[in-house]
């Protein structure tokens, strides 16, 4: 029974100003439409250019549920190709990363392709003589995605050929990427090691919403952050002992509501937004020896202070990533099914900055985002309980009403109380827009 396909109105009916229908999270048809429309109409994060530093280097990933290859071609440009042989569909590369040399060669019948996807050769080509192969789509080789953009090293792609251009889709929200990259004295980031991979049995949007949910840390993470603070206070230690790095990282999760209210949330059009406008849980980290001096040398004192003074906590780029500038981290939420999401947490080195910064970044990642992390455990527990709970017929709607104001205009940039759920509403507004943007039919 198809309820939502080719029925934009049915999709719109799932979103109310202050509520979201549970089908948005649990319905497999809605999920498939998300893959077909939402993930095809928007600019989706693929990878970082430092993951493919040399010609022929490639990296395999997904855009939504579409397998793609990011590869550096002989002209040094990065291409994003569908990971599918134009002959019979075989995935061309299955290693997560590698170097293919000058061309890809399909392991099934050895059709080969340049690293920009163009068909290079077919064995026994004479078998296609006079068969009209020139007219088939296969002859074009591995299909590139609709559009690719390298923004300061971060590679985004749009599956559809036509659609919103990169700049108008992201607009001023790119300032969070700028700030993260500017924190390197050389203005450059490099991926540091493989990402953490964490499987979540819940809908991908629960994770994205959680990135700006500031009312949960002191509740869900009391078990780890609260216990850490207790332990530290009870510990025998000389007066004035410096907090270890791990405590600096974990303790702010217990900050009171007031702290989060005052930090502020900024929302941008198209579903993007960030917490930590005035301060954040990253604000009070100790200075890393020598780093500020390097920044002053690179940018001058005023600009260095401005860069480091930004304490954005979580920036959500709709649809499915979050970045943390002050800790140089990116989390990618890849949908697998309505109730299954792969979370990958990447960290980056600030090129030219002291190693100790990277040490803190790596520590943050494993302490908060690993499948072995005490903090991540309680988040996942909540998502999975929600995924199960939403099957209850007791109530069909999810509430996202906190600090709602009538007539909210999501085309406007706003800064509000840091506990607002406006950013979630902003995401659902964008969700509805891109879900229905190219959907046929308005059958009622």
């Amino acid at each position: 029974m198809s309820r939502y396909a080719n029925n934009p109105q049915a999709i719109r009916n799932l979103i109310r100003p202050t509520e979201v229908h549970r089908d948005v999270y649990i319905d497999q048809e809605v999920f498939e439409l998300e893959m077909k429309y939402l993930f095809a109409n928007t600019w989706v994060f693929v990878g970082h250019e430092s993951q493919t530093p040399n010609k022929g280097d490639y990296f395999t990933t997904e855009i939504g549920t579409q397998p793609v290859i990011m590869v550096r071609h002989s002209d040094n440009e990065i291409y994003v190709l569908h990971n599918r042989c134009p002959h019979k569909g075989t995935k061309i590369a299955i290693d997560r990363t590698g170097n293919t040399g000058k061309f890809f060669r399909c392991p099934y019948h050895a059709w080969s392709f340049k690293t920009n996807g163009c068909l290079l050769a077919i064995p026994l080509r004479k078998g296609y003589k006079d068969t009209g192969l020139e007219e088939s789509e296969s002859v074009h080789g591995m299909a590139p995605v609709g559009a690719v953009k390298n923004y300061r090293g971060f590679i985004f792609a749009r599956l559809n050929k036509d659609g919103p251009d990169f700049e108008s889709f992201f607009g001023e929200s790119l300032s969070s990427f700028d700030n993260m990259v500017d924190r390197s004295p050389e203005g450059r980031l490099e991926v540091a090691g493989p990402p953490l991979r964490y499987m979540h049995r819940c809908n991908w949007k629960m994770l994205v919403e959680n990135q700006t949910d500031t009312c949960h840390p002191m509740v869900a993470h009391e078990s780890s952050a609260g216990t850490a603070i207790d332990l530290w206070e009870k510990m025998d230690k000389p007066e004035g002992t410096q907090k270890p790095m791990a405590m600096e990282v974990i303790a702010p999760f217990m900050s009171p509501y007031e702290f989060f209210e005052n930090m502020g949330i900024r929302t941008w059009p198209n579903g993007h937004g960030h917490t930590g406008v005035h301060h954040s849980i990253h604000s009070d980290y100790s200075a890393i020896p020598g780093y500020f001096e390097q920044m002053v040398e690179a940018y001058g004192e005023e600009r260095a202070k401005a860069i480091l003074g930004e304490n954005r906590h979580n920036t959500v780029y709709f649809p499915n990533i979050m970045i943390k500038g002050p800790i140089q981290q990116l989390r990618l939420f890849t949908p697998i099914a309505a109730d299954k999401t792969l979370v990958e947490s990447y960290i980056y080195r600030l090129v030219g900055a002291p190693d100790m910064l990277l040490e803190r970044t790596a520590m943050y990642n494993r302490m908060i985002n690993a499948p072995t992390s005490m903090v991540g455990h309680d988040d996942l527990e909540m998502y999975e309980r929600a995924q199960e709970g939403l099957h209850s017929d007791g109530l069909e709607w999810v509430n996202v009403q906190r600090l709602y104001q009538e007539g909210e205009n999501f085309d406007e940039i706003t800064v509000e109380n840091g506990t607002t759920e406006r950013q979630m509403r902003n995401q659902f507004h964008a969700w509805e827009k891109y879900m229905t943007l190219t959907m046929e039919g308005d059958a009622q």
Binding site: R96, A192, G193, P194, P195, L196, R197, Y198, M199, H200, R201, A220, E222, S223, S224, G226, T227, A228, D230, L231, W232, M235, P244, A246, M247, L342, S345, I347, R349, D355, L358, E359, A362, M363, N365, R366, M367, A370, P371, T372, M374, G376, H377, D378, L380, E381, M382
Partner: protein, 160 residues
Amino acid sequence: MTTPTRDDLIDFVYEEARMLDDGRFDEWLDLWTHDSYYWMPLDYNQEDAKHVTSLLHEDAFMRKLRVERFKGERTFSQKPKTRCHHVLNRPFIDHMDEEKGEYVTHTAFHYVETRLDDQILLAATARHELKLIEGKLKITHKRVDLLNSDAAFGNIQMFL
């Protein structure tokens, strides 16, 4: 104990696993020196614990935190509690330095973790670096390599 025999070292590794299976975490914490680390790399053959991500790299404070958290009233991912089960191969003794009182063992094992209707099975190897201190063996470093450390897991909640 003045000089541990091979059997003493092997028994130590088995006893550690049993403490974890029995949930005797406070006893388990006492097996470690104060400056020891418990490390689970993320990457196959990983060398650097600090500047790339690991699954775990925990000092005495973090291990204690983990244990206290297990006991906590508001530890939602531990309601109900996880249980674990180790099956160990006989440990290899890779290194014995009786003069310094330093020993290294290498143990292949299977680890099962269960909670509610879920059960996961992991294959791993543990490298224990042990030191004889005041007649007792203590762990100075423990490295656990999961066979599939790069796979996407759900929650892994206990110590391996």
